[in-house]
Symmetry: C2
Subunit: 314 residues, 2 copies
Amino acid sequence: MDQTPITILNRIPQIAIVGVGLLGGSIGLALKQAGYTGRRLGVGRRASSLEQALACGCVDEVAVTSPKLWAFDQSTLVILASPIGSFEAMFREIATARASQDKPAGLIVTDAGSTKEMVCSWASHTLPEPGWFVGSHPMAGSEKQGPEHAQADLFHDRPCIITPQADTQSQALQAVEAFWQTLGMTLVRMSPQEHDQVVAAVSHLPHALAVLLVLTAAAQPGGLDVASGGFRDTTRIASGDVTIWQDIFKTNRRAVIDMIDRFTHDLTDLRQRLKAGDDAYLLDQLTRAKTVRDQWSLRQAPARPVRGPSSHEQ
Amino acid sequence: MDQTPITILNRIPQIAIVGVGLLGGSIGLALKQAGYTGRRLGVGRRASSLEQALACGCVDEVAVTSPKLWAFDQSTLVILASPIGSFEAMFREIATARASQDKPAGLIVTDAGSTKEMVCSWASHTLPEPGWFVGSHPMAGSEKQGPEHAQADLFHDRPCIITPQADTQSQALQAVEAFWQTLGMTLVRMSPQEHDQVVAAVSHLPHALAVLLVLTAAAQPGGLDVASGGFRDTTRIASGDVTIWQDIFKTNRRAVIDMIDRFTHDLTDLRQRLKAGDDAYLLDQLTRAKTVRDQWSLRQAPARPVRGPSSHEQ
C-alpha cells in the first residue's frame, strides 16, 4: 500500500483548521498545493475572519465554532492553529460534542502551538480520547498576521516538533506526521518537557530579548532614527502577534525563566570581561558564535523569495 | 553653481578607499553607479584583496599602502573602510607622507567606522590637519565579507551619522556629506560621544546579544536542530566579521557596558514579572514593543531584492 504522506492524508476526508490567520491560512494553501483532495474546513469564532480566509482560497468551507460543530460523522483531522489561550476551551467543545455521539472514534486532533507541556496536559485531562491527540509545533511563522499574508510554502524545509506520549494511538501519530510532512516539514520527536526547554532557548528567549531591544532603542534619544539592518533583523519577531506571544510566555514560564537566568549569567560575564579588557575572551566568544552560526546557516534551506505587500519586512 | 552632491563630489579628482572588502567594495560600486567621474583608488595591505576588488570592478586602480603613498599631488578624498583597529596606523602613515610635502592641503579624510569618540580623538592627535578629518558612520552593512559580495545599493536610503567637531573645515564637511549623499544615504549629525551611545543601543548591544543567543542555542541539546526563522534573523549579525566587531567593542567599551547594564536591568525586571505571573506587565511590554517597531518599520525604505550566492542569508 502506498504510504507517502499525501496518500496517508488523502484517506482522511476532512481537515478542520481552527484559526485561519496567517498560520491556519498557510496550512490551507499548503494542503491544496500538496494535492490534498479532501475538504478543508476553516473554523473560527468570527464570521468576518472566516469570510476572508474563504476569499483567499485558504479553505473550501467555513464554520463558526460551537459545542455542536465537532460531532462530525466523517473522519476528521483537527488542527488548532489559533492562539494557545483558546486551546483548553476548544478541547472542551470537542469533548462535549463527542460525548453526544454514538460512535466517538474518527477524530484526530493536533495543534500548532508553540508550547507543549501545558497543551498536552490540557488534552489529556479534557479530551474523551486523549490517545487521538498528538502535540505538534511547526517551527515556521511570520511576524505578519491574517490569511491575506498566508503562504503555501511557509512550512517548506522547516522543522516540526512532534510530542507523542505513551498513550498516543499509532494511527493518530501516523496521520499527524503525514500531515506535517505533506506541508514539506522535517519531523523531530521530543517529549513535551524537552520541547519547551529547547524552544525556550531558540525561540522564546530570542523573542523576549527582541522586545526589550526595541524598548531599549526607543528609550535612547535618536536611537530609532539611526537604527538600520541589524536592528531590523534582531527585532523582527517583536512585531509578532501580541496575543500569541502572551500565551506562549504564560504557558512556558518555567523554561523561559530558566533561559533568562542562563542568559543573564552569560551577559554579566561578558560585561565583566569587557570591563576588564579581556580581549582574548571577547575574540573567543565572537569567533565561536560566528563559527556555530555559519555552520548552522549552511545546513538551512534557502529562504523563499520575498513577496506580498509588506515584503520589506520579511 | 550646481550644488548637488554628485557635482560637489566630481570636483574631487580622486577618492581613495582604504580597505576594499564588502564595505569598501560597495562604496566603489556605488560611486560608479552614481556617476562619479574621478579615479576610484583601492588601497590595502594585501595585493590579493586588491586584485579581487579590481576584478569586481569596485575600483579603477589599486595601491598597497605605504608611508609614501599619501603624498598625492591632487586633491583626494580618503575613506577608511578597513577595521577600526587599523585607523591609528593609517592616520600616522598619512601624517608622515603629508609632512614631507611642500603644500599639505588637498587631502580630506573620513572613515566608515562604527565607533567615533576614539577614532575622532586619534585623528585629532595624529593628523597634521585634523580640521580636514570628518568622522562618519554609514549605518549599512552585511554579515558577508569580501568585495565579491559588494552591492552598489548597500547604502541606499540608510542613515549615515556624521560627527563634525568645532575645528572641522566647512569644505571638508561639505565634501564628506556630499560623498555619503551621493551613495544615497540620509545624513544625521551628532557629537562623537552621542554617536557612541546611540549606536551602542541600536547596534552594539544587539550584536552582543546575538552572539550570546547563538552560544545559548548551541549549549542546549537539540537547539540548533529546531532553530528556525526567528533564530536566523535575531542572530544574523553574529555571522559578521570577527575582527571588525572586536574593534568595535574595544573602542566603545564604556557605552556598551552602560547599555548592557540597562538591558540587564530590564531583563531582570521582565524575569521577576514573569515569575510573579504579572500578565498585564507582559502584555504591556509586548504591545509597546510591537507598536514602536511597526511604526519604525513603516518609516523604513523597502529592502533591496535578495541577491548573490549566499542570498538566503540576507
